[in-house]
Amino acid sequence: MSELRPLAALIDGDPLRELDAARDAAWQAVDVGLLGLCGQRMAMLLGHEGWLEGASAADLEALADWPRHEGFGERERTALALTEQYLIDVASATDDQVAMLAEHLDGSIIDFVNALLVIEQRMRLELGLSAVLA
């Protein structure tokens, strides 16, 4: 009987509510600061202005120049590199990109990528709906 409980949990629910739940779980599973930074970079590339509200012009300018800007360390750079690769062409992410970030995430590389997925889904959904339904 107890074996059926995880499956039973999958039977009920609507997509948007479950997407909200995934968002909440994602922000609890990984480093909030690093995920927020990568989320901002995603928003910049996708043109999701809502995500960038509250960020200063200087911060956004630095983030746009992250490969060279001295304000970012190796951990942030590897995360941003994988984030951009994930967003633009995830199938072409290299073993080296994954391995380098994994070294910085203390065993949470899977959660971090899952969190990127959740953020990307929401951004694209919001952008898509606003474009189609505007």
Binding site: P6, A9, L10, I11, G13, D14, P15, R17, E18, L19, A21, A22, D24, A25, A26, Q28, A29, V90, A91, D95, V98, A99, A102, G107, S108, I109, I110, D111, N114, A115, L117, V118
Partner: protein
């Protein structure tokens, strides 16, 4: 007779010791299940979109 896989096998990338957040995994499974069950879109369109997304994301499922 040798049965070849439809898609090439990939090497695992997550190093040993990698953990997974169970709440996040379950939340993603629930979302995927809810999306698949959504019948607002006809099955053919749904399948076309699913296959296109799987191709883009290199998803072998």
């Amino acid at each position: 007779m040798t049965i070849r896989p439809i898609t090439p096998r990939r090497s695992p990338r997550a190093p040993e010791g990698t953990t997974r957040s169970l709440p996040l995994q379950m939340a993603l499974l629930r979302f995927a299940a809810a999306a698949v069950r959504n019948d607002a879109i006809d099955p053919v369109t749904t399948e076309l979109v699913r296959m296109r997304c799987a191709s883009y994301h290199d998803c072998h499922t």
